[in-house]
């Protein structure tokens, strides 16, 4: 029988990789009798889904930042130089 510590590790690992057969069976048996780890898996899955949307697809909310004016000017100068304009 595997421990909750080990089950938690397998649960997070399963988000990134297909677990070997034996580990899958061990985890399934553990979750059959452990409601805490079942709940942990649901909550971790929710975090995984939200992270994929937040980081992979969209801008993080309330994170609108402005490029500092001096940096904008620096980049404009670099682009002008690259284009061969004085």
């Amino acid at each position: 029988v595997i421990s909750c510590r080990w089950a938690a590790k397998l649960i997070t690992r399963s988000l990134d990789d297909v677990l070997p057969f034996r580990q899958r069976v061990g985890l399934a048996l553990h979750e059959l009798v452990c409601s805490a780890c079942r709940r942990f898996r649901r909550q971790i899955a929710k975090i995984d889904k939200a992270a994929a949307q937040l980081i992979g697809e969209v801008l993080m909310p309330s994170r609108q930042a402005a490029l500092p004016p001096e940096t904008k000017e620096r980049i404009r100068r670099l682009i002008r130089a690259r284009l061969g304009h004085p």
Partner: protein, 189 residues
């Protein structure tokens, strides 16, 4: 209007949200626009200009994070007390996962609230864990490919990802589960 004026703030926000370092984010935007300038002929016009620039920036963000993760994971990660103490000597949860009472996946506003909470918790992660976690989600490859590209062992990256997730989970349990005592009906998660 130049690219800098039209897309500068957007690109900067995109980079800053992921690398959390203003100087690095500024440099990444600069590199992106200069790279776009030399690659302008390759812009097919099928995508919008903004999404084309964003995809160049995304690659640069991935490269930046890979470099950070590579430097961090040259050695085996040290033990993480904050995660180890979540379990007893016998491997049982010290405080088992509680129901997230505010949760109701059907409501749009709740999803935004959850993402806000997640953003706050991401900021509380130690930098090394945040870099590994963000790289995992910003890079569209598998962990094996990420590790190959970054030149680190998958085992080490998994340790970091496991720690990052446990810390995020605990942080969200506090910020998400806490304060609000009114439990909405149904939708147990």
């Amino acid at each position: 209007m130049t690219w800098v004026d039209t897309y500068g703030d957007y690109l900067y926000s995109f980079a800053l949200a992921r690398v959390r370092n203003p100087h690095a984010a500024e440099d990444l935007v600069q590199d992106t626009l200069l790279a776009a300038l030399s690659g302008q002929k390759r812009f097919s016009g099928r995508a919008t200009e903004r999404s084309w620039l964003t995809s160049i920036l995304k690659h640069k963000v991935v490269d930046w994070l890979r470099e950070k993760v590579r430097n961090r994971l040259k050695e085996e990660p040290l033990p993480d007390k904050s995660v180890d103490t979540m379990f007893s000597r016998f491997g049982k949860w010290k405080s088992p996962p509680e129901k997230w009472c505010k949760d109701d996946p059907g409501r749009e506003i709740t999803r935004n609230e959850f993402q806000e909470a997640l953003t706050g918790c991401l900021d509380k992660l130690p930098e090394r864990l945040r870099h590994a976690f963000v790289l995992r989600y910003v890079d569209e490859q598998s962990v094996h490919e990420i590790c190959q590209a970054a030149g680190v062992s998958a085992k080490n990256l998994w340790v970091m990802l496991h720690r990052a997730r446990l810390r995020l989970w605990r942080c969200l349990t506090v910020s998400w589960f806490g304060e609000d005592a009114e439990v909405p009906q149904g939708g147990e998660v």
